[in-house]
Subunit: 320 residues, 2 copies
């Protein structure tokens, strides 16, 4: 028998601004974690040098552990190729062979996937989706990301890019997505950015009273809209009702695709709690075929947001 | 070594009006086929008696074969439970334990799935999806059905009901689906029924000249609209352009879910050929994120429609 208690994985979560990393044991306990800047490194070689110089000394402090592998979650990270491909919010342009670069630098096998897929794996191994074989993870932050698990496996698609549910069209001919140019995609409505735009539309399109009018339009953000909604501001509550209505319809469509046991919501916007969850749930159930109604658990992630990205990435090492 | 050449499967496709059956060898060759009425049997026990009395003598004529199992495709057929559950177009109400009843009557193991899933398996084993691990099968007939394969496996979902893409909402608040009451679901537009409704809307909503006006509205069907479009009727061509536009957008959303290598279209409406395929393809590509563009094969099924249902059902016996 191999003594697995010595086996550990490194989880790295690369975001546009910050990169978080941790050393994780087989039970999902983070025995060390840290972070560094991503966007100060204009090219990826510099970034990997900096990562190595920061992380390697920390690894060496643990004498008794065996690092089995490195798992990385990153925007547009492709599990099949190990490449980050055309990530709009990273400075490294084009196709970056990230898994290969990290593996060579550290001398340890490395795996890569996109950040939302990593979160889904983390949720399946350590979070709200433990024991589930069919679920969908939706991350509601600045954008809308997704990771889909069916038959106990991540849906990666033929090219590794499956699970871009934030870019599905939910309102044909609707609001223009500033980055993609798409009209009416989910992310244009159900992200923190989308919530802010909806609030601005309501403020400029009507004369309705709102505490949000005390803030200059250009300083408005989803946190302010949420605070106002909690305080009872009618216009702000309607912003979340509309957001939940559109998101709930999109979730109904996802359910009719893969019939998951649960949809797990994750990310900054979920802090809105019931103000968002209630309209989502109502709209989802209303838009489902009867055969799917009252069957799908709609839940918030159980993982600490700061940990889940690292856990999810590290779980890539144990997965498959 | 087992001599697999003697092993055969029975494939049964239960439709609202007719039931087709066949004896199929391991290479997908149908060595015998026949059909019987479904809807003259008010209860399922009578139906199974009739099926047995028709099919058993035919099986017995083949002295040298070994029937390994029976595969059945049926509306709302559930692979996990073996039950047909609340199928709107069958006379047998509620939950019907079909796989169990057939298995007991014939003394042979029986498996059940829904008709679109059976078609997808047939396509994977004998048709256009041979060798593919990620594809989506869309059946365009009276309704819109779907079977989804990812990671080489059917997506069944936690309850066996995954893949109801015809019921996803594509036009929020749009056309009412007569059977489900849903507003703006794909099936309300992209089925033969939907094509007919669109034509009627164009005819009653405008004074535009059209050869369709020679036919009383209540006698109009998708075949007539197709014939008129082929003959150059502008209004009829626009009906297919609109249908393709909506279907293409829906397909783009499905691609961004599971990133399939191919989408295989199947069923009566595909006889429209390029008149339908061209707008579908244009709309799908336009609505996709750039990362997915020009990657997905959009193809018609290679299987003879009359055979594919039997082949797909029989393939259940070899699958898994």
């Amino acid at each position: 028998m191999i003594d697995v208690s010595k086996d550990h994985a490194i989880g790295i979560d690369i975001g546009g601004t910050n990169t978080k990393y941790g050393i994780v044991n087989h039970r999902g306990q983070i025995i060390f974690e840290g972070s560094m800047k991503t966007d100060i490194h204009e090219n990826v070689a510099d970034f990997i040098d900096a990562l190595y110089n920061t992380l390697k000394p920390e690894i060496d402090k643990f004498k008794d552990i065996n690092i089995v592998g490195i798992g990385v979650g990153a925007p547009n990270g492709n599990f099949y190729t190990g490449n980050i491909e055309y990530a709009p919010n990273l400075k490294w342009v084009g196709v970056v062979p990230l898994a290969k670069l990290i593996s060579e630098k550290f001398g340890i096998p490395a795996k890569l996937t996109n950040d939302a897929n990593a979160a889904a794996i983390g949720e399946m191994m350590y979070g709200a989706a433990r024991g589930m074989k069919d679920f969908i993870m939706i991350t509601l932050g600045t954008g809308v990301g997704s990771g889909i698990v069916a038959n106990g496996e991540l849906i990666l698609g033929h090219d590794g890019f499956a699970g871009e549910l934030g870019h599905t069209i939910v309102v044909p001919g609707g609001r223009k997505h500033t980055k993609t140019g798409a009209l009416g995609s989910l992310e244009a409505y159900a992200s923190a950015t989308g919530v802010t735009i909806t609030a601005k539309e309501y403020l400029t399109g009507t004369d309705e009273a709102s505490v949000l009018r005390e803030t200059p339009l250009e300083e408005l953000d989803s946190k302010l809209v949420f605070d106002a909604a909690i305080a009872g501001d009618i216009l702000s509550k309607r912003v979340f009702a509309t957001t939940g209505d559109i998101l709930g319809m999109a979730l109904a469509n996802f359910v009719m695709f893969s019939s998951p046991q649960a949809i797990i919501l994750f990310g900054g916007l979920t802090k809105a709690g019931d103000i968002l969850m209630k309209p989502i749930k109502e709209s989802m159930e209303r838009n489902l075929l009867p055969i799917f109604r009252d069957k799908v658990q709609l839940i918030f992630s159980e993982l600490k947001e700061s940990d889940s990205a690292i856990l999810g990435a590290s779980a890539l090492v144990w997965d498959r």
